[in-house]
C-alpha cells in the first residue's frame, strides 16, 4: 500500500527531505540551545525566531513501540513495528517511526537504533533499524 505522505511547507520540509542528503534534520533553537519537534517557525520554549534545521546523528533508542497486527487497509503487510524513537542528542527529542529489518517480536524499549531513509515521491521517510 502506498504510504500517506505529508504536505510539505516551509516549516516541515527539512525534516521530510533531509534524507535526500542522508541527513536527519531536527529543528534547533540557538537561543536556548535545544532541539524541538515538530518543527515550527518559533521555539516553543523561549519563543525565539532564531531557529533552523540542524543535522543530528540519526542514532537513538526505542522509547516505546507497538506491533500492528490489524489490516486497517489492504496490502498493509502486517505485522510491522511502529515506534517512538528518542534521539541521542537530547532527552525527550523523539518522533513516531517504523523499525524495520528485524523479527517484530525482537523489538524492545531501550533498543539502540539508527536512521535509514526511504524515499517515497519527494519525501525521505526517516525509518530506523537496529544498531
Amino acid at each position: 500500500m502506498p504510504r500517506k505522505l505529508p504536505a510539505l511547507n516551509a516549516d516541515n520540509r527539512a525534516f521530510w527531505q533531509g534524507g535526500k542528503s542522508d541527513a536527519l534534520l531536527m529543528h534547533y533553537c540557538h537561543s536556548c540551545t535545544r532541539f524541538f519537534h515538530p518543527p515550527g517557525p518559533v521555539c516553543p520554549n523561549c519563543a525565539s525566531f532564531d531557529v533552523n534545521p540542524r543535522r543530528v546523528s540519526g542514532r537513538g533508542k526505542v522509547a516505546s513501540f507497538t506491533i500492528n497486527h490489524q489490516p486497517w487497509v489492504p496490502e498493509l503487510n502486517e505485522p510491522f513495528v511502529i515506534a517512538i524513537v528518542e534521539l541521542e542528542e537530547q532527552a525527550g527529542l523523539r518522533f513516531v517511526t517504523n523499525i524495520e529489518d528485524l523479527a517484530v517480536e525482537d523489538v524492545f524499549i531501550g533498543m539502540p537504533v539508527r536512521v535509514r531513509f526511504r524515499q517515497e515521491d519527494d519525501v525521505w521517510l526517516p525509518l530506523f533499524i537496529k544498531e
Partner: protein, 396 residues
C-alpha cells in the same frame, strides 16, 4: 487561590439518550433529536427554554460518522432560538461540550444549555470497513497539524498510538495483560445488566487473552465497540436548576488543563493530558478522591481507564495495575465502581457523554438492575493522549 470557580454556578438537570445500535436504521439527526428531546423533558423544560447549544466536536463542516450532527444542524432541526452555540474538535476532549456549555451559563450568556454528542460509526463501517483509518481523514497529502507525523509511518488508527502508551506503562510499572484485562472484564460484567449495551454475553479471562491482537499489547477487547447513538445533557444555571424535577447535579469542579504539547507523541506517554486535567480539577474543590462514590472513566481503550485512575488520584501513579487486580475494587459492589453501564468497551462507543449520562443515572438512583450503592459524588473523565477533560459531579 482562585477567586471564582465558575462551574459551581452550573448543574445538570436532565439527560437523554437515543437507542444504541450496531447499526441503527435511524439517521444521525433522528438519533440526536431523540436524545435531546428526552433530555429537555427530563429537565422539566420546553424547547423554548433552551437558549444555548454546545457540542464536541461538532460536524466539522463535513458531517462524517465520527460526528455527523453539530450545533448548527441541531439548532435548525429543533427550531431552537439561542443566545450562544458552539462546537469544534479543539478543546479538552469529549467532555468539552459540557465544559463550554457551563462557561456559557456562568458568563451570563445562557440559562439552559443543551449539550449533545452523536456518532454513527457503526453505519459508516457497514459500507466501508476502512472508514476508521486515519489515512481517510484527509484527501491526498496530509496537511493536518497532528496526523502528518504519524500516517506516513502507517499509523492508521489511534490504537497504534495508545498501544505505545500501554507498552510504556507495562515497561515502567510492570503492568500486566491480566491486569489490563480487568478493565474489559469489569465492563462486560456491567454490560450484562444494561439492556442497551452492545456486548452482553459473559466474557472470561480466557476469552480476553485469546482475542486477537490489534496493536500490541492491545487486544480486540481492549478497544471499544463502534455503535450509532446520541447522548444529550441539559445544563442549567444554579438558581434555575432548583425548580427542576430531578435533584440538581452540581458541577463541583472541572479539569480542562493542558500543560504539555498538544501531540500524541511529544506528550508524556504514561500521563497524557489526563494528569493535567486531574490536577486542575482537584485544585478547584475541597472534596478529595476518597469522597468519590463512582467513576465513569474513558475506555475507548482499556489502558486509558488505567491512566485516568492514576490521573484523578483514585490510585497512586503507576499502581493502577495492582489497583484493578482481580477486579473487586472496581466492581459494582466494590469501593470504587467504574464504568457501571459497560463503558464503551461493551456498552458502545457513545464517545464521552455516555459517561456523564451514566454518572447521573447512578446519582439519581435510576440505573435499574445495575444500580450501585447510594452516593453523592461521582467523577467522569474522557479522552486519551492530548485530549483530556474531567468533571466532578455532586448531588446534594
Amino acid at each position: 487561590m482562585l477567586d471564582r470557580v465558575y462551574e459551581k454556578d452550573v448543574a445538570i438537570t436532565g439527560i437523554g439518550q437515543s437507542e444504541i445500535a450496531r447499526p441503527s436504521q435511524l439517521s444521525g439527526m433522528r438519533l440526536t433529536v431523540d436524545a435531546c428531546l428526552e433530555a429537555i423533558a427530563d429537565a422539566g423544560l420546553k424547547r423554548s427554554d433552551i437558549d444555548g447549544i454546545a457540542c464536541w466536536p461538532g460536524d466539522n463542516n463535513n458531517g462524517n460518522s465520527f460526528s455527523p450532527v453539530g450545533p448548527n444542524a441541531l439548532q435548525n432541526a429543533l427550531g431552537l432560538q439561542v443566545n450562544w452555540f458552539g462546537g469544534g474538535y479543539e478543546g479538552p476532549g469529549p467532555l468539552a461540550g459540557i465544559i463550554n456549555g457551563a462557561m456559557a451559563i456562568a458568563s451570563g450568556l445562557c440559562r439552559n444549555v443543551l449539550v449533545f454528542r452523536t456518532i454513527t460509526e457503526s453505519t459508516a463501517r457497514q459500507s466501508n470497513k476502512e472508514a476508521s483509518a486515519l489515512s481517510n481523514k484527509t484527501q491526498g497529502r496530509d496537511s493536518s497539524f497532528a496526523w502528518q507525523w504519524y500516517t506516513p509511518f502507517n499509523v492508521l488508527s489511534a490504537s497504534n498510538l495508545i498501544a505505545m502508551y500501554a507498552q510504556r506503562h507495562f515497561h515502567d510499572y510492570g503492568t500486566t495483560p491480566e491486569q489490563l484485562a480487568q478493565i474489559a472484564l469489569n465492563a462486560r460484567r456491567n454490560a450484562q445488566v444494561n439492556p442497551k449495551a452492545i456486548y452482553r454475553t459473559p466474557m472470561t479471562m480466557d476469552d480476553y487473552m485469546q482475542s486477537r491482537m490489534i496493536s500490541s499489547p492491545l487486544r480486540m477487547f481492549d478497544c471499544d465497540v463502534h455503535c450509532d447513538a446520541s447522548t444529550a445533557i441539559v445544563l442549567s444555571r444554579k438558581d434555575v436548576a432548583r425548580d427542576a424535577p430531578n435533584p440538581p447535579i452540581r458541577i463541583e469542579a472541572i479539569g480542562s488543563a493542558l500543560n504539555q504539547p498538544w501531540s500524541w507523541d511529544q506528550i508524556s506517554l504514561t500521563e497524557g493530558a489526563a494528569f493535567d486535567a486531574g490536577k486542575m480539577m482537584w485544585s478547584r474543590t475541597d472534596l478529595k478522591p476518597s469522597d468519590v462514590g463512582a467513576a465513569q472513566l474513558y475506555d475507548g481503550f482499556s489502558i486509558l481507564t488505567m491512566i485516568w485512575l492514576e490521573a484523578l488520584n483514585l490510585c497512586p501513579k503507576g499502581e493502577s495495575g495492582s489497583f484493578v487486580e482481580g477486579g473487586h475494587r472496581i466492581a459494582r459492589d466494590g469501593p470504587l465502581p467504574i464504568n457501571t453501564n459497560g463503558g464503551q468497551l461493551s456498552g458502545g462507543r457513545t464517545h464521552g457523554l455516555g459517561y456523564v449520562h451514566e454518572a447521573c443515572l447512578q446519582l439519581w438512583g435510576k440505573a435499574g438492575d445495575r444500580q450501585i450503592a447510594e452516593h453523592q459524588v461521582a467523577v467522569t473523565a474522557a479522552g486519551g493522549g492530548p485530549l483530556g477533560g474531567s468533571l466532578l459531579l455532586v448531588k446534594d
